[in-house]
Structure formats: structure tokens, C-alpha cells
């Protein structure tokens, strides 16, 4: 099967990451292709989430974190000192493992991002809220109760709300850190369908513990082990004929 080489949104080279004395990521090298779903798989604590957080500089929040290497977003190293972090985060959004809507109304949750960027016009905000909720496949379920608390939604709905909230910023990339691991199978299936739909417009990087999920929805898969990328390639190859024994052992479940 031939892969059509899409544009690279992210290009990461020689990435090393330290938490104090411990090295969490070793010489990571990986491209993230535009408008594809790239899945990051691997056992717990092997660096997948840490790596994900380097893409929108959320690791900055950890004091002891040090990074060397190149993380290029559209050919610009995002760790350069003059990088506009806030601007980066409006372009590279993130959805977390546990749905975390603000304890505000559904409307206010979605409007939060745009408001922080200075948008005040009521009509514009209304439009953004509606668009984002529609894109996140949540509009029909909540259009009559936008003023109700976001916390009154079910887990799956809350997660779609968080996705809508991220979409409201009109990002280019959406990072997802195990977005369905806290949800039941039906909610999970809805979100997987949503992701497959979203990749038409967004570049998505998803960390997942569920290998079947990675097999189902991703175009490329990277296998992380102890802070290194052991193998990266088209998902269909990784799951049918992986090149490395460690990859094979992991995906067949011979070791956890």
C-alpha cells in the first residue's frame, strides 16, 4: 500500500526531556502529518502523554521540566525564547482524559476561549457556540439548554463539550490525551466516530491505551517504550506486520 506523503504539521527531532534528573523522553524523532490521526501507543508511564504535552508546551507547567531538541510547528521551533505560547495554544488545542468542563453553563464553557481572546460581540459568540457544538455532534442534544450547567451533562456529553470548547478556538491541531478511557463503550464509539469525522478539518494526535481504538481510527501509529519511539509507521503495517519484536510483543499483548 502506498502512502501519499501529506504535509508535515509538526516535525520533531532529537527531542530529549528531563524531569529533574530523570530522562522521560529520549531522542524522539517523529513527523505529524496534516489532517491525519496519529496515535501514540505504549505501556503506562512510557512517555506518550509527556510527549503529547510538549506539542502545546503544557509541560511548562511542571517546574522541573527541561527540554532540548527541535519541536518544529510549521517549521518554527516552538521552544524558541520568542515563541508566543498563548498563540500556540490557540492553534494547538488539547482535550484531556477526564472531561473537565468549567462549572459554568454550557454556553459559557464554549464562549470562554473566544472571550479570553477579546471577543465581545454577542452575535459572533452565539455563532461560534452553535458552530462548535454542531461540529462536536452535540448541538442537537443541548441546543435547548445552553444556559444549564455543563456539569449536568453525562460523561460522554461532557467530553464532547470539551472537544467543542477546543474547536471554538478554531485550532489547526487537536491533541487528545486518552479521551475515551473514562467513558462507557457507547460514548466511546460516538467520540471515535467524531474523531474520524474531524480529521477532515483538523490534525489530530491521540494518546490511547486501547489498541483496538488506535487500529480503528488512526492513520499513523507510534509505539513508545520507556521514553523512546520504537516504531512509527502506517497503522495497517504496525498492526499486521510490525518490524520490531517489542512492537509485536506489545500489540499482541505478550507484555503490558
Amino acid at each position: 500500500m502506498t502512502t501519499i506523503e501529506n504535509k508535515k504539521t509538526f516535525e520533531i527531532k532529537n527531542l530529549d526531556l528531563f524531569y529533574g534528573e530523570t530522562q522521560a523522553l529520549k531522542q524522539i524523532e517523529i513527523p505529524i502529518y496534516e489532517k491525519e490521526v496519529t496515535a501514540l501507543i505504549g505501556p503506562s508511564g512510557c512517555g506518550k502523554s509527556t510527549f503529547l504535552r510538549t506539542l502545546n508546551r503544557m509541560n511548562d507547567l511542571v517546574e522541573s521540566c527541561k527540554i532540548t531538541g527541535d519541536v518544529k510547528y510549521h517549521n518554527e521551533n516552538i521552544y524558541a525564547p520568542q515563541m508566543d505560547i498563548i498563540g500556540l495554544r490557540t492553534q494547538v488545542g488539547m482535550v484531556f482524559q477526564k472531561p473537565n468542563p468549567f462549572p459554568m453553563s454550557i454556553y459559557e464553557n464554549i464562549a470562554y476561549g473566544p472571550k479570553c481572546q477579546g471577543m465581545k460581540n454577542k452575535q459572533e459568540l452565539n455563532q461560534i457556540v452553535e458552530e462548535s457544538l454542531k461540529k462536536a455532534a452535540l448541538w442537537d442534544e443541548v441546543k435547548n439548554r445552553l444556559k444549564e450547567s455543563a456539569l449536568s451533562l453525562s460523561g460522554g456529553q461532557q467530553q464532547r463539550l470539551c472537544i467543542a470548547r477546543t474547536i471554538a478556538m478554531k485550532p489547526e491541531v487537536i491533541l487528545m490525551d486518552e479521551p475515551t478511557s473514562a467513558l462507557d463503550p457507547v460514548a466511546t464509539a460516538k467520540i471515535e466516530d467524531l474523531i474520524v469525522d474531524l480529521k477532515k478539518d483538523y490534525t489530530i494526535v491521540i494518546v490511547t491505551h486501547n489498541m483496538q481504538q488506535a487500529a480503528r481510527i488512526s492513520d499513523k501509529t507510534a509505539f513508545f517504550l520507556m521514553g523512546e519511539i520504537i516504531e512509527f509507521g502506517d497503522t495497517n503495517f504496525i498492526f499486521s506486520t510490525p518490524k520490531h519484536k517489542q512492537t509485536e510483543n506489545y500489540i499482541t499483548g505478550r507484555f503490558g
Binding site: 502545546n56 503544557m58 507547567l61 517546574e63 498563548i86 498563540g87 495554544r89 490557540t90 488545542g93 488539547m94 484531556f96 477526564k98 473537565n100 468542563p101 468549567f102 462549572p103 459554568m104 453553563s105 459559557e108 470562554y112 476561549g113 479570553c116 481572546q117 450547567s149 456539569l151 470539551c162 470548547r165 477546543t166 478556538m169
Partner: protein, 401 residues
């Protein structure tokens, strides 16, 4: 098996017992104060000045005596003189002494325009609730309050002129102290809340977790336990001269008192606010930052509204402490009970008023209990109103529980 049962029951019994004892003690204390203070509780206490002023007056030139009939109904204990248009009754004053009290003055009565023989205003009115101490007549024995209202009215009716009228304005009220207490609450909160909440935000959201900051936190925690009289000394040494220099104050005053109280409260406010900030889940911070909000926006739009109820608790605690604080204030504001309250002058709060009452000769226990009761009521009203306000505030800002 039964051994374990016995143990369980003993523990359970101890827990129930502790709860019961606590409840009983609280009820007893409040009950005791209530019973003692209830007798003297009336509206006048709150509205009257503390110091009663005694006037010696006589009638204005050219007064006219008439028949001051009135349609008003008086009860059997009130004696009315139609000649003078004055109704008197027997009563006990706020200290408990027997007095004769004015219950009604006819609007046309000459007693409305009395000439002050002493210092102060030249024309004074005889008002309701004033005490008549003595009425002196030309050519007749004086009517004294000790003889009762009935006799006084009779004597009045038997005379056409009054040589001297000695009366006292109402006193013994705690109006001044209440106003002072309210001023103190507002001022102290104005000083303490912004600084305290701001410091807590810095410590919890911005400060790095290094040795210096940990020491700082420990230091603040220690300060919460420092006895307030030490702060009182500090207030005397620093804030009193400061206010004297900056305003027209000449002694300890309400502003310096509020500042001292603010310093006392600062560690408590900081700690309580910090605790309530800590409780806000990190999830919200991550979500906000990941959406491209700045740290300041995150703090003020997400974290603070969520920590609001904690800050509220801090405020209520603060108010309780302000009302009850006496030792520190003794130095910083002084102990003189004032009727005209100025920010730049010394005064007393309710607590100090109680202290003042109890150090009098003889100690006025009933009145102190009454004041204590009033304090309790103020605290209750403040609690409820702050909770109501906060509910509306939280609803408005979309922070829903």
C-alpha cells in the same frame, strides 16, 4: 464476637456522648446569656445615646398655659396633665433604677420650648422618653422623680409656673458602640480582604515551590496563633502615630483600630483563601491554559469564582473575630464610649463596651448579657445576608454547584 460488639457500642456511645456534650454546652451558654439579657432587651437600647445629658431649664418668657386636651388614650399607669399637656409614667431606666418618664408632650405645650439654664443649646424641647428628675416650683415643694409620676402630675396641676425643670435625655444606649462596630467591620474588611486574597493568590498560583516560599507559608501559619494583644501593642506603636500624622486624629481612633484588626486577620484570611484555592481542581487550570488563556485570566475567570465560597468563609470568620476582638482594640482605639462617632476619634466596639460595663462598679451583668445577645443577632444577620448575596453573585457569574 460479642467482645467486638461491646467495643463498637462503646465507641459509638463515646461519639454520641461527645456530640451531646458539645450541643448541651452551646445551648447552655446561649440560653444563659439569653435569659439574663432578655429582660433589658428593647429597641431603645440600640437607638439611644450612651451618655444621658441632664438639663436644668425653665420656661420660656411669655408662655401660655392652656387646656391641652387630647384625644389620646392613656393607660392607667400614665398620668396626664391637661393643664401642661404632659403625660408621665413610672418606669425603670436601662440601668434598672426607678424613674419618671415622659410618654407624651402635647404639640402646643409650653414644655416644647424650654430655656436651658446651663451650657449648650439655649432652647430645648422636652421629648418622649426623657426622664424628669425634679420639677421646682415657686412657693411649693419640688416634685421629685423618686416620689413617682402620679404625684408629679398632681403637683404640676396644682401650679401655674415652674421655676426649674431638671430632666435627663435618654442614655445608656449602645447606639454609638453599634455604629463603631459596624464601621470597624467595614473598614477592616476593606483593608484585610484585598491584601489577604491577593497574597493567597500569589502564594498558591504564582509562587514557585522553593525554600523561601515554604518558609513564608510556615511563617504565616504561625502568625495565626499569635495572641491579639501583641498586635494591639503594635497597633499602638505604629498605626496610631500613623493615623495621627496623616489625618486629624489626635489619639487612637477607629481607622487605626481597623488597621490593627486587619493585621490580626491577615494570616487567617490568607490561609483560608489559600486552602479554598487549593481545593479548586487543577483540571480547570489545565483546561483554561490549554485554550490559550493567560495565567491571570485563568486565575480571575475560573479559579477565583470557584474559590468564592471559601473566601466567604474567611470573611465570615473575620467578621466574627472583629466583633469579638477586645484586647487589641483597647490600645488601638481606646475605651471611651462615644455617642457621636467619628472615624478619626476614639470609640468603643460592642465587645469593649461589655468589658467597660463589667469593670464598672457595680458590674452590670444584665446589660452585658443583653449586649451579648445583640452581638449574636448581628452575627446571625450578617451570616445570612452574606450567604444570600454570595448565592446571587455565584449565579450571576455562572458558577453553579
Amino acid at each position: 464476637m460479642s467482645n467486638r460488639n461491646v467495643k463498637e457500642k462503646t465507641y459509638l456511645g463515646m461519639t454520641y456522648g461527645a456530640a451531646f456534650v458539645s450541643l448541651a454546652v452551646l445551648i447552655m451558654i446561649i440560653g444563659y446569656v439569653f435569659i439574663n439579657g432578655y429582660k433589658l432587651l428593647n429597641f431603645d437600647l440600640i437607638t439611644h445615646n450612651y451618655t444621658a445629658v441632664t438639663y436644668i431649664s425653665d420656661l420660656d418668657e411669655g408662655f401660655v398655659l392652656n387646656n391641652y386636651e387630647t384625644q389620646r388614650d392613656f393607660d392607667e399607669d400614665t398620668y396626664y396633665s391637661t393643664k401642661w399637656g404632659l403625660a408621665l409614667t413610672d418606669d425603670t431606666d436601662l440601668q434598672g433604677k426607678n424613674v419618671v418618664v415622659v410618654t407624651y408632650v402635647h404639640p402646643d405645650s409650653p414644655l416644647n420650648n424650654l430655656h436651658n439654664k446651663g451650657v449648650g443649646q439655649s432652647i430645648i424641647e422636652l421629648k418622649i422618653d426623657y426622664e424628669i428628675i425634679r420639677i421646682a416650683f415657686d412657693g411649693a415643694a419640688s416634685a421629685l422623680s423618686s416620689r413617682g409620676a402620679s404625684l408629679m402630675i398632681t403637683t404640676l396641676d396644682n401650679n401655674d409656673d415652674i421655676r426649674e425643670l431638671e430632666f435627663a435625655t435618654t442614655g445608656g444606649g449602645i447606639r454609638g458602640s453599634i455604629i463603631t462596630t459596624l464601621y470597624l467591620i467595614v473598614l477592616t474588611l476593606i483593608f484585610a480582604l484585598p491584601i489577604g486574597v491577593g497574597a493567597a493568590i500569589y502564594l498558591n498560583e504564582y509562587a514557585k515551590n522553593n525554600k523561601f516560599n515554604r518558609m513564608l507559608r510556615n511563617f504565616i501559619e504561625t502568625l495565626t496563633g499569635v495572641p491579639s494583644i501583641i498586635y494591639g501593642l503594635m497597633g499602638l506603636a505604629i498605626f496610631v502615630p500613623l493615623t495621627i500624622g496623616l489625618t486629624k486624629a489626635t489619639t487612637g481612633n477607629i481607622i487605626s483600630g481597623a488597621m490593627t484588626l486587619a493585621v490580626i486577620l491577615l494570616p487567617v484570611v490568607i490561609r483560608t483563601t489559600e486552602e479554598s484555592l487549593k481545593v479548586v481542581p487543577d483540571d480547570y487550570r489545565y483546561a483554561s491554559l490549554a485554550l490559550g488563556a493567560s495565567k491571570t485570566q485563568t486565575v480571575f475567570k475560573v479559579i477565583l469564582p470557584n474559590a468564592f465560597s471559601g473566601i466567604l468563609t474567611a470573611t465570615l470568620l473575620a467578621i466574627g473575630r472583629i466583633i469579638g476582638e477586645s484586647a487589641a482594640l483597647v490600645f488601638a482605639i481606646g475605651t471611651s464610649i462615644k455617642d457621636d462617632v467619628y472615624l478619626t476619634d476614639r470609640s468603643t466596639s460592642l465587645a469593649v463596651h461589655i468589658w467597660s460595663m463589667m469593670t464598672d462598679e457595680p458590674a452590670n451583668f444584665e446589660l452585658s448579657s443583653t449586649i451579648a445577645l445583640i452581638i449574636l443577632m448581628i452575627v446571625l444577620v450578617l451570616n445570612i445576608s452574606i450567604k444570600l448575596i454570595s448565592k446571587r453573585f455565584m449565579r450571576k457569574y455562572g458558577v453553579l454547584t
